[in-house]
């Protein structure tokens, strides 16, 4: 508990950034991008590093829970996810067979997030409708990545291109994407 209290005010200071889960994700997985973050981290006092550790350990159970859920639902979603895949990954054929294996957002998490958004406590959602919303968000996320890749390709022709999807790619595509969905 004290860990989250500490991180709260620290975050208040900066713009609506997406700070919180970074320690969990980044430490293990993104070694390549380490230099950028290292400089960002260096600007913070050493105590910030200490704070990150407890919050990471605190989140660990939550994340493991989710991963197990998403694995469980992989089997369920395989059949349905098949044909929308073809629409989105036009130019990468090896992706089509394996892409259906995972949903970007586990069903339980999506339900929870939807219920958070309801203003009326009594609002409920049917199971079939829920499944459909899952597909909708699935398409949304895939579309975002596909468009980001497209943006990156276009940007790469001008100068340096390292195939890293950047925030600026997302910035360019976000308005149209949100209009389309």
């Amino acid at each position: 508990m004290p860990a989250t209290k500490d991180t709260g005010p620290a975050k208040r200071g900066r713009p609506p950034a997406f700070k919180p889960p970074r320690p969990v994700k980044s430490a293990g997985q993104k070694a390549a991008a380490a230099p950028k973050r290292a400089s960002a981290a260096a600007s913070r006092p050493a105590s910030a590093a200490k704070k990150a550790a407890p919050s990471a350990s605190k989140r660990a159970p939550m994340t493991t829970l989710i991963s197990s859920e998403s694995e469980a639902e992989d089997d369920l979603s395989d059949a349905n996810a098949d044909e929308e895949m073809e629409d989105i990954s036009e130019d990468d054929d090896r992706a089509t067979s394996t892409e259906a294996t995972r949903d970007p957002i586990p069903a339980n998490l999506l339900i929870r997030l939807l219920y958070e958004g309801f203003e009326d406590q009594n609002t409920q959602i049917q199971k079939g409708a829920m499944e459909l919303v899952g597909h909708y968000m699935n398409i949304f996320v895939r579309e975002a990545i596909a468009r980001a890749r497209f943006e990156r390709r276009g940007a790469g022709k001008g100068g340096i291109s390292d195939g890293f999807l950047q925030v600026e790619d997302l910035e360019k595509l976000a308005p149209q994407l949100v209009l389309d969905f």
Partner: protein, 126 residues
């Protein structure tokens, strides 16, 4: 504080699963994504979900229901024909799996019963 904390935790969970997904996709498509990209995408998806849930709630209220059904979800795709086609296909498949006949245009399959039950409750109170 409790609210903010809850939101943070939900976002963290979303961040984690989006991150996993993006990493998977990147491996498949021979790409890379910066952590900042994943964070921004998480934020975008989070906002999209809360907008979606508002929309769905409004749609079902407009239809006089308290329970969101498939028709409400189909309304989400009203501005995007391609999306509508895909969702309709998924919906038909879901129905076929449940052994119900796929009704292409208007779905008149007794869901009003749930809605009328909701209404009935409301009326009974008055």
């Amino acid at each position: 504080m409790a609210d903010a904390d809850k939101e943070e935790r939900l976002k963290s969970a979303l961040w984690y699963s989006i991150g996993q997904f993006v990493d998977d996709e990147c491996v498949k498509q021979n790409l890379n994504a910066t952590p900042q990209f994943i964070g921004a995408l998480t934020e975008l998806v989070y906002r999209q979900i809360s907008n979606t849930s508002r929309d769905l709630e409004t749609f079902s209220k407009h239809a006089g229901r308290r329970i969101i059904n498939e028709d409400d979800v189909m309304l989400l795709s009203r501005r995007n024909e391609g999306l509508e086609t895909v969702l309709k296909q998924v919906l038909d498949e879901m129905k076929a799996k449940e052994g119900r006949p796929a009704v292409p245009e208007k779905k008149v399959r007794g869901r009003p019963s749930g809605a009328s039950a909701g209404k009935g409750k409301g009326k009974a109170k008055q």
